[in-house]
Symmetry: C2
Subunit: 475 residues, 2 copies
Amino acid sequence: MADLKNDAITSMDEDFAQWYTDIVKKAELIEYSGIKGCMIIRPFGYAIWEAIQKELDRRFKETGVENVYMPMFIPESLLNKEKDHVEGFAPEVAWVTMGGGETLQERLCVRPTSETLFCDLYSKIVGSYRDLPKVYNQWCSVVRWEKTTRPFLRSMEFLWQEGHTAHATEEEAQERTIQMLNVYADFAEEFLAIPMIKGRKTDKEKFAGANATYTMEALMHDGKALQSGTSHNFGDGFAHAFDIKYTDKNNKLQYVHQTSWGVSTRIIGAIIMVHGDNNGLVLPPMVAPTQVVIVPIRQQAEGVLETAAKIKTSLSDLRVKLDDSDRSPGWKFAEHEMHGVPVRIEIGPKDIQENHAVVARRDTGEKTVVSLDELENYVRELLKTIQKDMLERARKHRDAHTYEATNLEEMTEIAANKPGFIKAMWCGERECEDALKEKVGVTSRCMPFEQEKISENCVCCGKKAKSMVYWGKAY
Amino acid sequence: MADLKNDAITSMDEDFAQWYTDIVKKAELIEYSGIKGCMIIRPFGYAIWEAIQKELDRRFKETGVENVYMPMFIPESLLNKEKDHVEGFAPEVAWVTMGGGETLQERLCVRPTSETLFCDLYSKIVGSYRDLPKVYNQWCSVVRWEKTTRPFLRSMEFLWQEGHTAHATEEEAQERTIQMLNVYADFAEEFLAIPMIKGRKTDKEKFAGANATYTMEALMHDGKALQSGTSHNFGDGFAHAFDIKYTDKNNKLQYVHQTSWGVSTRIIGAIIMVHGDNNGLVLPPMVAPTQVVIVPIRQQAEGVLETAAKIKTSLSDLRVKLDDSDRSPGWKFAEHEMHGVPVRIEIGPKDIQENHAVVARRDTGEKTVVSLDELENYVRELLKTIQKDMLERARKHRDAHTYEATNLEEMTEIAANKPGFIKAMWCGERECEDALKEKVGVTSRCMPFEQEKISENCVCCGKKAKSMVYWGKAY
């Protein structure tokens, strides 16, 4: 019996949704649990999340963020304090009604997000201008009772970070809101090789309780958009609801201005759907748990494992793995391709004789014969090249799938036949936004910071346009 | 008005419990939340937890541990699968009974610990001897509905790590159980400067569902013991309950053998109560969020801040902070003492003129005048010395508060008058253990690996003794 890995996955062109599900299972990113919508993140999936956490946390701390931990429960009375916020979240929360064998006097909700808890804390610990700003963040899990769920993209419980800040002035809060969106987008481009469109959400799409929500939107391989991180400016709305005041330098009482911002495990879904192919995951080197895998060929032959081990040592500052398991080389190739390992080095007796190794790129499939003397430098450079090329390729794909529409007919035709972003002008009215969803099947992704004038008039009603909007079908 | 910090805390000799509570609040480790027993871990407290996490996680991974994330909810039917386990935990769990606006068909408990979830996972993903061992761990929060709570020591929700492993053989499971206890104890001694007694729990004190529980016990400043980390061998009990089987090399079906082990934020309580003093926290350099604080004296004077900045730069690989806030030096001294910063450097115009600085140790209060030319090396060496001295001091304190008793009268007298560990022989019977609790007020902490023969007979019933036990009053 040949030692072949039975890892065939559905082709992405045939059924993108099934391709996605196949990858998350076959690459051992997740396992389903006994509770619908709750997923188990397996070691390989969690290693990706750990890499994301480490890098984002580093970037946060560079901007002065401090980490904290808040309780996972929110008393119902606290959740109810800010009207818009509770209306947005109450329908999808889980309630703890019993504890320690007794029925609770007040229900506790399992946090769907923690604005109310941070506000409660700030109302206690902020008193003077000297206490500001507060720039807190926590890494935790949150629960939202979703009806339809998909691994990483939409689940009942998911992991994320939520930053919550309090500032003396409106300007400072706005600055922090945009700063964090930029931290997210830079991280996504530089670390995950995913180009982002940054912009502001329409009022319809903004966060429950926010004055303004900013977002970064990525385009998946199938032409659908994924909201990948958001940053909200709350103004002083929560401060009024929770009575968060400070004494300014003139000894006058002022309300604070607040922000919050979050990125979740959802972004692992973006990595899969932006970079993956029909052989499985394709990981950008920076986030890959294993960056280089060495596969010995005829590993029992004299000198093969020794040479492989030497190569490993020469690259030991990278995340490098020598796969000397008793599987066949073909099995190992398929296995590590499924896991998206950026670079594979093949080394066998013949290669050693000729003083070279074969180096394969996961992203392009390209194989190169490289002299053993140059291998170390070659691999280091190749990882940088792959990281750069993957971002470039994703950008090209996005740009090639970004269209412009100046009227409803054009927009309908594009939406029906060409999956991707549609740039079109908008009058700013909710009616047109609703109509586009109903008639064309697209939602507003954002009003990008980089505005263009596609035409003078709203793509829907024809009245004078106020802004250019990215529209699309979204996860 | 003098700029004095109003940080007076209760003296530990007067009221140890109040001293503890004062420290956790005044050192800004925690804030109470609106839910009884749920604490907010503030930036300074969380930074200590992050240091613990980082170091423990590194040590775990060196032994082959892989991190995962499991759902926070456990369906009631799953919790009920292992009889002893559910009996131990069911009384103190929180139940989610409503979600998404509807009453759930099956209650979900918020995890008090995740044995059942890991077992469910292993039953799905373990099939062959090739899949073993599984050495998984997760960092998360858990909930236990405690009646009386104290910050870090006993709270309704707390942070921890829980490792869960599955092995092919009984021997391998036992080896892993002890290995992890050793990882914990080495970490506690080397990183937290807390000496540990390692041993096995009596059947009365073992974990619900375990064959054997191993523990490390530390002695606090007030002579009470704190269970600081446990490691459990489950044998194949859970494997039978959850049907976790694998095919061995001879193609025979076998049950796996399992372990679990955990350390929680409770250990922060140990740091406080082992090292703290009447001026606040005293942190071992390795775990201190700030290792060195530089306090400029007359900082407006020419050259002071420049020299302070130069000193900071020369130590920039350490966690060093230059406090140039507009507070008085006295305020800063008290502030950083409260936070337990191991080393303080004072530098003013006079010092600069004389080419020296004043270096103060937090642990002893000792001040030394050090030439600026030697300062860098001096501080580096001093941090090592402090780390070593703190462990030594804690060990001496523990040894000086460890007593021996050979009969009930002696034991009662010691327990009443000399807070600390009591070493005494035990026959192995539950009746004597219960009697000692009732009559003497002590519980068995552990049967230490390092057994001694204090006498021939049980301290309680006088029958032939089976083992030497550490007894004490415990948190």
